[in-house]
Symmetry: C2
Subunit: 134 residues, 2 copies
DNA sequence: GCTTGACCTTCCAATAATGGGAACCCGCAG
DNA sequence: CTGCGGGTTCCCATTATTGGAAGGTCAAGC
């Protein structure tokens, strides 16, 4: 599949790992440019487009938001980008991940401690409910 | 504030830590029963209602979903509940938390490794973008 | 008694990302 | 001609929460 291969959205989806639904969605919100259309109004994609879609999928799989991916795409396409900007985006995202992880771990810790003290049998008394009830 | 104190939604919000918006929402989706209304159609809440709202807020702060909270409320209100059911809910939620934490940590690990190898200066080459580009 | 401001009401919309489905069009094979 | 496997658009649902508009109500102050 070279850069001039032209394919329908289904093929582009298969080759990129991004669902056809999402490809249309990304176009609609402007993350990717509007695809050119065939005579019968079908969207057509090139190998380069598929490459972009893979980039997006990879970024999504690392938890980047669409807005962040917009930035990343811009930097990717810019041959004169300073890698510092990319790194800054990555570090900011890592910080967000850390914040979310901390939140979840705090929940887990609290809940784990409560569950550890719950008999978990047929008796009704339960420190978990007691805590929730404040 | 005893169990017979009657208050408007704003007060109930202040006392429970749940926003008035969310109280209305919880009523709408059936998580809490429809509040009784004053002559002028204002929702009225008792201290007991506020207690329930606090319970909900606490459960939300531990990451329980609304559906899970529905279950928890049912168990809380049931004097003859088996604590095993509560514990099962808690453990299931802990498992979900674990799964989410693992996902986020995998992202963080990958991204951290990539960032570590990025110069982060004015030069354009960047292993982060290289990885995203596949 | 009237105005003002704080409060309440309902309804509608938006967020982030994705999936599901209906109704309809297109092209090819049997 | 029919059927199937694409494609198209449009609307809806998810999860929890927030924002706002347009309007009714209540208490205080003048």
């Amino acid at each position: 599949m070279d850069m001039t291969t032209s394919m329908n959205i289904g093929e582009a989806a298969r080759h990129s790992g991004v669902s056809a639904k999402m490809i249309r969605h990304y176009e609609e919100i402007g993350l990717i440019p509007k695809a050119s259309r065939s005579y019968s109004n079908y969207r057509t994609y090139s190998g380069k487009d598929v490459h972009t879609l893979r980039f997006i999928r990879q970024a999504r799989s690392l938890g980047f938001s669409i807005k962040q991916i917009e930035q990343l795409l811009g930097l990717w396409r810019n041959q004169r980008r300073p890698s510092g900007k990319v790194k800054a985006l990555a570090l900011a995202h890592i910080a967000e991940l850390d914040a979310r992880i901390s939140e979840l771990e705090a929940m887990k810790r609290t809940l784990g401690a409560l569950a550890a003290h719950c008999h978990g049998d047929d008796r009704p008394e339960c420190p978990i409910l007691d805590r929730l009830a404040g």
